[in-house]
Structure formats: C-alpha cells, structure tokens
C-alpha cells in the first residue's frame, strides 16, 4: 500500500499549495516563508546528519571483493575496484559518484531450467545515470532564476539542452529525461516482484515527489504559462534575502515551489541523503590495506597483559625447582 500512500501524499501536497494560493492567497507564506524555512532545514539537517555519521567510529577497513587485492608485486591487482592507496580510493570514489560503478555491477537473478542463474542487468544503472544527470542539468539551468545578470555559461547550457529546437519555448531535454527516468524507476520497483516486496513508502514518495516537480515544471513551461519576469523577481529577491512576493504569478508556480520545498525538508531525513552518505560509505572510502597496515579499533579498552617473559621472571626459581624448563637461566 506504500504506492497509494505516497501517491496521495504528493497529491495532498499539490492540493495544499493550490488552495493556499488560489483560495487563501497566502503568497508570502508559500513564496517566501516556506522556501526559507525549507532551505534552512535542508542545510542544517544535512550538516547534522553528516556530523552524526562522522562521529561513528569505523573500526576496521572493509574490503569488498570486487577485484584482486594487492598482494605480491608480480600479481596484478585491481587498482580501482580494490584499491590499496588513497589515490586508488579517490579513483574509486570518482567512478562511484560520476559513473555509478556499483550499480553497473547490478545482476538479475532468475531460474533457468531449475538452476539459479545470474545475468547482467544494466537498466537500473542507465536509468539512474539519466535520472541524476538530467536532475543536475535541471538544477544548474534553474540558476537563471537566481542570478542576475544570467552568466553566459547558463545560457549555453540552456541552448544545448534545447538544441532540438522543438516547439516554443524550446523543449528542454533534461526535463523530459528526468520525468521519464523517474517513471522508469517507479516502473522497475513495481514490475519486479522482489524489488516491490522490499519497497516502502520511503522509496515511492521521493519518486512521486520528483516526478511531480518535473511534471509541474513542464506544465508551467509549455502548457499553463506563468509570468516568468515576476517569477524571477521573486526568486532573485529570495536570493538577496529581501523576499517580496509579487502577485499575479500562476498557481502552478507555487505548486512547483511547494513540492521543491517539501523535497528540501524531506531530504536530510530520508534515503536521499546518499548524496552526502556516498562519501562516508566505509566500503567505498577505505583502502583495502588491512594486510599492510595495522588497524587499531578505536573503542578497544585498555587490556592489561602479562607476557610469558614477565611470568617467567616472576616464577623462574619455582619453575626450576619443579623441573620445568625455562627460556632464560
């Protein structure tokens, strides 16, 4: 039932924004107060979450066996999948962050003539890449609403994004790809029984929310247009910490904005924190050098030891007397 719960939560959010603007006219609340509150919650929540993770000790390096470990110099080892040095770890992290290396290893398990078999399954990796990169482009493009004058780079990205020159205003690929990728990720969750079984509202909700953001943005750009100049007046005033909400922007804009604010508030408390968490993943950020360096568990209590040498020193005469051989006479 997670699907319906998440879906109706997003619908509810849309309705809240719709009635808040169309019926109650709360432009200042939805245009200024909520965005500021959401942004502050996002930043502070993000910091606190990462600091909380940082306080957890990492007792031992966790080698993940994705390649040959460094052993003898004449055995080739996997420098990026099983790194033993900091530079190797940085390489692995770059591959992980920019190319989703782990997802590339995704396997599909199935029964083949009664035997379990595994096959490569790259769709999750591909959709994940499309989703994240298009989201990044969308995010960068939106800087045109916050920066005045608009930097040339942002204009260039915008024209590259719309290079197909389909329709007016020209269709931006990133927005469409974002929506389609989010829908694919939803389709994957529901069509695969095993994945569906382990899916929770926390998995569906961000997908619906982001799909809702993309959809409301697309509607605002191509179908039910808003007064873009007033929108930018609002966003620039937000960036300048002045905050005045001009009236006469279409309601769809406030729906879009409210969904984004929800995403920002939700972010630090949800699985979306993998944005920060990826850098603190012990299986990604630790070199596999557990046979090269000695790691001492940071929470080990001090152990009082009594070595054999000391023991013999204490009891040497008695041992000799009893005929027990000693190492030192």
């Amino acid at each position: 039932m997670g699907i319906f719960f998440s879906f109706f939560m997003v619908i509810l959010l849309v309705l809240i924004a719709y009635f808040g603007i169309a019926a109650a006219g709360l432009h200042t609340l939805f245009g200024i107060i909520i965005p500021y509150a959401a942004f502050v919650t996002f930043c502070i929540g993000f910091l606190l979450k990462v600091i909380k993770w940082g306080r957890a000790p990492v007792p031992f390096h966790i080698p993940t066996t994705c390649g040959q470990q460094m052993t003898l110099p004449w055995i080739n080892y996997s420098k990026l999948d099983n790194p033993s040095s900091t530079s190797g770890v940085i390489g692995r992290m770059i591959l992980e962050v920019f190319c989703f290396r782990s997802l590339f290893r995704n396997l599909k398990t199935g029964l083949n003539n009664g035997n379990i078999s595994y096959a490569s399954d790259k769709w999750l990796w591909l959709a994940g890449l499309a989703f994240h990169y298009s989201f990044a482009v969308v995010l960068i493009r939106h800087l045109r609403f916050f920066l005045e004058p608009v930097p040339a780079l942002i204009n260039t990205i915008d024209s590259l994004d719309g290079f197909l020159q389909v329709g007016v205003p020209h269709f931006l690929l990133s927005g469409g790809v974002l929506l389609i990728a989010a829908l694919y990720l939803f389709f994957r969750r529901t069509s695969n029984p095993q994945v569906r079984y382990i899916s929770l509202p926390a998995d569906y909700f961000p997908l619906f929310l982001i799909a809702g953001i993309a959809l409301s943005g697309i509607i605002m750009r191509y179908i039910s247009k808003v007064d873009i100049i007033k929108v930018k007046q609002l966003t620039v005033s937000l960036a300048e910490l002045k905050g005045n909400a001009p009236e006469g922007i279409g309601t769809i804009f406030f729906i879009h904005l409210f969904l984004i604010c929800t995403l920002l508030v939700y972010f630090p408390f949800s699985k979306l924190m993998h944005m920060g968490g990826i850098f603190l993943s012990p299986t990604r950020n630790l070199p596999n050098d557990s046979r090269i360096k000695r790691h001492i568990n940071p929470w080990n209590p001090e152990v009082k030891v009594h070595t054999y040498e000391a023991y013999e020193n204490d009891f040497r005469e008695k041992m000799k007397g009893a005929g027990i051989p000693v190492e030192k006479e």
Partner: protein, 131 residues
C-alpha cells in the same frame, strides 16, 4: 569526530555550493525589466492595440510567432490580421517590429533578464532604428 578535518572540508564545500545564489548576487544590481513601448509609431497611435491583449502576449507571444511562421512559411497563408481596422502582417519584421522597433528595449529587456535566447535572430537581421 573521526576523520573530522576531511568531513568538515566536505561540508564547507557542500555549503558553498548550496548557498551559491545567495552570495553570488551581492553587489550586482538587479533591476526589474520594463519592456519599453515608447516608439514613434506607437506614440502616434490613437488606440494602442496589439493583435492580442498584453496579458496574453506576455505569456504566449512566442506561440503566436511560431504559429505565424508555420502558417506563412509552410502553408502559404499570408492573410493579414485585422484588429479594429488596423492591419497587421503575420511577420516579425513587417508585423511586430513595425511598431515595436526597439528590439533592445522591448525584446531583449525581458529575454536577457530571464535567460531566454530566442533563435529568431539567427535568421532575422535587425538593426536598431532602421525600420
């Protein structure tokens, strides 16, 4: 905190990126664009009327131009538009810009503010004040 210095550097980078719009605008003036209709032709009109209301044109002018382009160039429908006795040609340069002859103060004013680069001017050549 374990590996505190690295984590704090990471968090500072995060904050620097997240708050980028807040500090990048400091010291830059953000004037609100005011499209200018102060041209000799418009000033000479008794009744200042366009092919549609200002409210509609603000949102849909690009669509109007796109439809005109398709009708004229692809379908050969060169019929004119009559608004209250005034005749408009379905054309950017021979229609719109007969009145709005101030591209930089009328078109570019909002386009550059909103970061919009229409490709009209890839083909249409316009020199300020020549029409």
């Amino acid at each position: 905190m374990y590996n505190g210095s690295k984590i704090i550097i990471g968090l500072i980078i995060f904050l620097a990126i997240a708050t980028f719009p807040f500090y990048s605008n400091i010291g830059k003036s953000a004037g609100v664009p005011m499209p200018d209709t102060n041209t000799p032709v418009i000033n000479g009109l008794d009744k200042k009327e366009c092919v549609a209301s200002a409210e509609y044109m603000k949102k849909e002018h690009m669509k109007v131009l796109d439809e005109w382009r398709d009708e004229v160039v692809r379908e050969g429908k060169r019929d004119v538009i009559n608004v209250g006795g005034r005749v408009f040609e379905k054309s950017l340069q021979n229609g719109c810009m007969q009145c709005h002859s101030n591209k930089s103060r009328f078109c570019d004013e909002c386009h550059s503010y909103a970061g919009v680069k229409p490709y009209c001017w890839d083909c249409h050549h316009f020199k300020e004040g020549r029409i």
